[in-house]
């Protein structure tokens, strides 16, 4: 049962991801990306990480996608301003992406025969366990991440705020 769900969700995720790249209209790309995120959230549930699934939908499909749409609105979409890409660039990009795909596919080989005795805990994704891990073992990264938030805040204000002309 889980396996069928896995394949179905994987198919959906890849299908929508491909549509993100292929669709001509950037707003459509954003909408497909939301669908892609939903299928990935389904994967999180299959992996017993329900909280992450909810967070993924709230933060990515909700907040980040709004940001994406805003970025699109900041740009001028009327003109066909995108310069035509050279064929060398396309060939290089295809080659690079193909090689990356090769590395990833090759890395899956033998993944079912991992050295034993070091198996990760598969209930760590549950909300209670996640909290215990985060606030005991990963306490320091948690606190340091607040510095990251501060940098982002100061930076957003510095770059995004319109300057007062008279000062």
């Amino acid at each position: 049962m889980t396996q069928y769900f896995f394949y179905f969700l994987s198919f959906l995720a890849i299908f929508f991801a491909a549509l993100v790249v292929l669709s001509k209209n950037p707003v459509h790309s954003v909408l497909y990306l939301i669908l892609c995120f939903f299928s990935i959230a389904g994967h999180y549930i299959l992996l017993n990480a329900q909280f992450l699934a909810a967070v993924h939908i709230i933060v990515y499909a909700g907040a980040i996608m709004v940001l994406f749409l805003f970025v699109l609105m900041l740009m001028n979409l009327n003109r066909d301003s995108e310069p035509p890409k050279s064929w060398q660039g396309k060939v290089a990009a295809t080659l690079a992406a193909g090689l990356l795909l090769l590395v990833f596919t090759a890395s899956i080989k033998g993944a079912d025969a991992l050295p034993s005795g070091n198996q990760p805990d598969n209930t760590v994704g549950l909300l209670t366990n996640l909290g215990k891990t985060l606030y005991n073992d990963f306490m320091l990264p948690f606190e340091v991440s607040s510095i990251l938030f501060l940098v982002a805040m100061v930076g957003a204000v510095m770059i995004g705020k319109r300057e007062e002309v008279s000062e």
Partner: protein
């Protein structure tokens, strides 16, 4: 840890200084705080602490934190006379202090999650700082390019971390190292894929060929002050992180990655030096020289012996202080002439013998000519590499340094040409910086044993 806390607190103070109206004292407060942090760092020498399994305070950490704090202090000396944007100065200070805090995390991590956080804090600060000159197209371009490429590189590091976790079920770098030695013969392919991805991401951060394309454009486009920050502090943090990761985690599978890094190092040295020969802009020359120096420093990673840490430390310190003084003179000249072209240095030796002397010392050090720090930096790193049988690569590196003499000396020669130049004035803080840097470069060149003995 203490350095991290004090830098974060200083950053928060800087952030709030405008709101609470003590902007006037902020600068002296930061200098005092940095001096105090250096003092605490020195006092902690010889201790060993593990903070919640996430951060490790050992001699490696303290030595590289010391380099970061010292370079940061010198960089703040440079800021005083050259900062243009007075309205945002407290924000800029806050972000650079946070970036230094991130750099401290990068040199002291004991867990891949901390490495990621450190890289993110430093990178995001740098994306912002690179694009601070909103009306300058070059600065915008630099910020945007750096952001796009950097986000990709961070993505690679994250993906690699995930795969490593998949193979070893831990983020702790020491446990990963133990896992690697215990399961040396049966490591799954997923582990090697993770290793490669992390290596690619880190190679981007240290701007090693073939992942160096962003560096010249970003270094040239950013405001020169920020370029100085990126070329010194960020590079120090990235290299320390690189070395710690490879020595702790991947020393057991050295044969898997050493060929790749060897080619990377050779290509970085040759390409960086040869491309630098063709440039006419001093800032761009320094950018390519920074790429080339990344190649030399990769030799320390390859050496993988007890000389690696010490030689890398020496190299980073020598490179950072020489670059800082070069950037300081460049800033002074560029403020007067309005551009960073090599020809702007014409006649500097006649009118400003002091500045010319500083440039000569810096260039000698960067080129690696005795009796400056740069010579011993290269010497130690080459002996470390030869001790691990990288003779061919060392020959390439020596060829590269010979090539580098041409472009470093071009500036020296230009300084002695012509005399139509008006006098370049530098503020007292910059003067102090130049004196400290030049004295340090010569002092390290005269008695290098002290520093190299710190890390064994």
């Amino acid at each position: 840890m203490n350095a991290l806390i004090s830098l974060s607190v200083l950053g928060i103070v800087a952030m709030l200084s405008e709101i609470f109206n003590f902007k006037k004292f902020l600068y002296s407060l930061i200098l005092l705080g940095l001096v105090a942090a250096i003092g605490v760092n020195v006092m902690e020498w010889g201790q060993f602490q593990l903070w919640y399994g996430m951060m490790i305070v050992d001699e490696f950490t303290l030595a590289f934190s010391g380099v970061i704090l010292l370079t940061g202090f010198l960089w703040f000396l440079l800021v005083a006379d050259n900062h243009q944007d007075k309205a945002h100065i407290s924000d800029h200070f806050a972000i650079s202090l946070f970036a230094m805090a991130g750099a401290i995390v990068m040199v002291s991590y004991n867990n891949l999650s901390m490495l990621f956080l450190g890289i993110e804090i430093v990178s995001i600060s740098m994306y912002i700082m690179a694009s601070t000159q909103k009306n300058d197209l070059g600065s915008n371009e630099a910020g945007f390019k750096y952001f796009l490429m950097g986000a990709f590189a961070t993505g690679f590091i994250l993906f690699g971390t995930a795969l490593l976790y998949g193979a070893t079920a831990t983020f702790d770098i020491q446990k990963i190292g133990v896992f690697v030695t215990e399961h040396n013969s049966e490591l799954p392919a997923i582990f090697y894929a993770g290793l490669i991805l992390i290596m690619v991401g880190m190679a981007f951060k240290i701007s090693a060929v073939p992942f160096h394309w962003w560096a010249p454009d970003v270094y040239t486009g950013s405001p020169t002050l920020i370029t100085a920050f990126m070329a010194t502090i960020v590079k120090t943090a990235a290299f320390a992180a690189f070395l710690r990761l490879f020595i702790t985690c991947f020393s057991g599978v050295e044969l898997f990655w050493n060929q790749t890094i060897m080619i990377m190092a050779g290509a970085t040295i040759l390409l960086g030096n040869i491309t630098a020969l063709l440039q006419n802009d001093f800032k761009r020359i320094l950018a390519f020289s920074s790429v080339a120096h990344a190649g030399y420093m990769l030799l320390a990673v390859l050496a993988m012996n007890n000389q690696s840490g010490g030689s890398l430390l020496f190299y980073l310190l020598a490179y950072s202080i020489s670059s800082l003084s070069a950037f300081a003179v460049l800033l002074a000249v560029a403020n007067l002439k309005g551009n960073t072209n090599v020809q702007s240095f014409k006649g500097l030796a006649k009118k400003n013998p002091f500045l010319a002397f500083v440039v000569i010392v810096a260039m000698l050090s960067l080129a690696g000519i005795p009796p400056t720090a740069g010579f011993f930096a290269k010497y130690y790193i080459f002996t470390a590499a030869i001790a691990n049988n990288y003779v061919g690569l060392t020959l390439v590196a020596i060829t590269g340094s010979i090539v580098s003499i041409f472009y470093y000396f071009r500036i020296v020669i230009v300084m002695f040409e012509g005399d139509e130049s008006t006098e370049v004035t530098v503020g007292s803080n910059t003067k102090a910086l130049l004196v400290i840097c030049s004295v340090l470069v010569i002092l390290l060149g005269l008695m290098p044993d002290f520093l190299i003995g710190l890390l064994k």
